[in-house]
């Protein structure tokens, strides 16, 4: 850990996390720090528990052991009120948007806003329209139902709902999976822009090397049931571990690397 890291505020702190399904141990003694304002990309092979890690932090999965602090609150021992307060300070975007199918996009985004007292329905729908536009969707998308949207639009709508309360932390599960390369690149740029302009801390789980290059400040590699290494892309390239080496030096990684200069301008 460098000096620069220590001076920054830690928003997510995980110590000694252990997740176990029956006899199958997914995480063992996992430690991870996420700092304010950064975009952290979590990578790892299939079945290394990337999504389980995200679900543990966001409280959807109770770990077998360990400690998880988010914004100074211990997620595992928090009271119901503390949890509610915490949930308003983070937003989660699920893989396929996880929009409520019986509501249209605007109503979907209004759902988290309904808990805010003293917000008139008109202001609420205006705020929802703003979030729709921030997520890069056309105005008319607000009237559509999730089943009428394409996969990319559903993801954007899911992002808009995650941003509804202006969270401090944004969790993204495979944000670019299933998108065509152009749509995925647009989404990368969108995440980058929003995180910078809204001061978001982004925790994203991905397989997409292009996303790692284009959006992430830091990368955490999950392997051997723990966070094997964290660091910038440059530091990752120097890691000797066989899986990490294979991942960041494989043919796909090289292709993604060649594309960075063009991406960073976007």
């Amino acid at each position: 850990m460098t000096n620069a890291d220590q001076s920054r505020e830690t928003v997510i702190r995980i110590r000694g996390l252990r997740n176990q399904f029956g006899r199958h141990v997914v995480h063992e003694n996992l430690d991870l720090d996420v700092y304010r304002g950064e975009v952290l990309g979590v990578v790892g092979g299939s079945g290394t528990g990337k999504s389980v890690l995200l679900r543990s932090i966001s409280g959807l999965q109770i770990p077998t052991a360990g400690e998880i602090d988010v914004l100074g609150t211990n997620v595992l021992t928090a009271s119901d009120d503390q949890r509610t307060a915490l949930e308003q300070r983070w937003g989660v975007m699920f893989q396929d948007g996880a929009l409520f199918s019986s509501l249209n996009v605007r109503e979907n985004i209004e759902v988290p806003m309904r808990h805010v007292e003293g917000l008139s329905p008109k202001l609420r729908s205006q705020m929802a329209d703003l979030k729709i536009s921030l997520a890069g969707l056309p105005y008319l998308a607000g009237d559509k139902f999730p089943s009428e949207l394409s996969g990319g639009m559903r993801k954007r709508a899911g992002l808009a709902r995650a941003l509804a309360l202006d969270p401090e932390i944004l969790f993204l599960d495979e944000p670019t999976a299933g998108l065509d390369p152009i749509g995925a690149a647009d989404f990368d740029i969108l995440i980058r822009q929003l995180s910078k302009s809204m001061g978001l801390t982004v925790f994203l789980v991905t397989h997409d090397l292009d996303t790692l290059h284009a959006t992430c400040d830091r990368i955490a590699v999950l392997a051997e049931k723990r966070v094997l290494v964290t660091g910038t892309m440059k530091e990752m390239l120097a890691v000797e571990h066989p899986w990490v080496h294979e991942y960041f030096h494989g043919p796909r990684a090289r292709a993604a690397m060649d594309a960075i200069p063009a991406k960073k301008d976007g």
Binding site: L119, Q193, M198
Partner: protein, 375 residues
């Protein structure tokens, strides 16, 4: 370390032709109404001081950008002071993303539109009927083909579906029919006792259960159980593109999915109907014995003497027709499922409603037919 955000405050100080507004603290949606109201109340030149803001959110930025645009429209000066770099970026992002309502030309419904909608619905109903007829044809064709070429026939699947559709439905069908028999005997005896004609309760039970109730209620229960199961099973296969995969692999969907299911229903529904008849008569007989003192022996004698074989046949003849209706409606609805889970739910409930409705309509047609031919 807990970071408790400072509450957001909006302070207004107004002179004759100038308003100064000072924002302090961390802004969130909760502070939006207050901010919007105070920004709307401003008179004359407005100076907005953001130096005390610890966190600006998109909603506050939206309010500021909106107020700025409104002031510009009225040609009044609007100044922002004490902006941090973060706030500047956020304001720029929000200003760029301000939603602009796309105006959709309002469409007014005229009488012609209503007529058109009605016409389309009628046409769709006819089309639906034709499609069901098409499925019937498909089933019969594939059935006939597998007689010629038995290798196409899926015997294992047929046995499996017979188990699902028939054997597993026996308990509920028998119980329901038994209870109907009991109710009929009880209600019948109370009415017939007034004329001293208690003994006719046997005829009442026999005729109503054998001709109508036994098979009709069995068909309704099977429609609820099986039509929905067919739709859900085929529909979820359609949803996961399994049907498309079968087609690309050269497997005939009708051979693999429709024939075993509908044939299983065709074989099982008459048997279930017989079981329903039997247990209905047992229930009726038991109740007559308890309530009216008609002994089982006497019940049997009267039943055999007075109830012709045609009463039973009239009921059982209907079974294969009901089976075809339920099976075809269930399979057809399954194939209409789209790529999302909502359409699976819609089609499943639609298939049950359609199947039950069609069964009852068919039963009514049969009643008229049998009354005309006099059996």
């Amino acid at each position: 370390m807990t970071t408790e955000p400072l509450p957001a405050t909006v302070e207004t100080s107004a002179t004759k032709d100038e308003t100064r507004i000072a924002l302090r603290g961390a802004f969130s949606l909760a502070a939006l109404s207050d901010l919007v109201a105070k920004l709307q109340d401003c008179q004359g030149a407005v100076t907005l001081d953001l130096s005390g803001v610890t966190r600006l959110d998109t909603s506050a930025a939206w309010a500021i950008v909106t107020a700025e645009a409104a002031a510009k429209a009225k040609n009044q000066p609007f100044t922002l002071t004490g902006l941090s770099d973060d706030s500047k970026t956020l304001l720029a992002t929000v200003a760029k993303a301000m939603p602009e309502p796309d105006t959709v030309p309002p469409t007014r419904k005229t009488l012609v539109d209503w007529v058109e909608v009605t016409g389309r619905k009628v046409a769709a109903t006819f089309d639906f009927g034709l499609q069901l007829l098409g499925y019937l044809g498909l089933f019969l064709h594939r059935l006939a083909r597998s007689v010629v070429r038995p290798s196409n026939f899926r015997f294992t699947a047929l046995v499996h579906h017979c188990q699902e559709v028939g054997v597993k439905a026996v308990p509920i069908v028998a119980l329901m029919s038994f209870l109907i028999g009991v109710v009929l005997a009880f209600q019948g005896s109370t009415q017939l006792r007034q004329f001293g004609a208690e003994v006719f309760v046997v005829d009442l039970i026999a005729v109503s259960i054998l001709r109508e109730l036994g098979i009709l209620l069995t068909a309704i229960i099977v429609a609820g159980r099986t039509a929905s199961a067919f739709t859900a099973a085929i529909g979820s296969m359609k949803m996961r593109e399994e049907i498309d995969a079968m087609r690309t692999l050269g497997i005939d969907v009708a051979d693999a999915l429709f024939v075993p299911r509908i044939l299983a229903l065709l074989l099982m529904l008459p048997i279930l109907g017989l079981i329903a008849n039997l247990s209905g008569l047992i229930g009726g007989g038991l109740m007559s014995w308890i309530d009216l003192g008609i002994s089982p022996g006497m019940f049997q004698t009267r039943l055999i003497e007075n109830t012709g074989i045609w009463h039973l046949l009239v009921g059982i003849i209907k079974a294969p027709f009901f089976a075809l209706i339920i099976g075809i409606v269930g399979c057809h609805a399954g194939m209409q499922v789209g790529s999302n889970a909502e359409s699976l739910g819609q089609q499943t409930s639609a298939s049950v409603v359609t199947a039950i409705f069609a069964v009852i309509v068919t039963d009514a047609i049969f009643s008229i037919f049998f009354a005309q031919v006099g059996v």
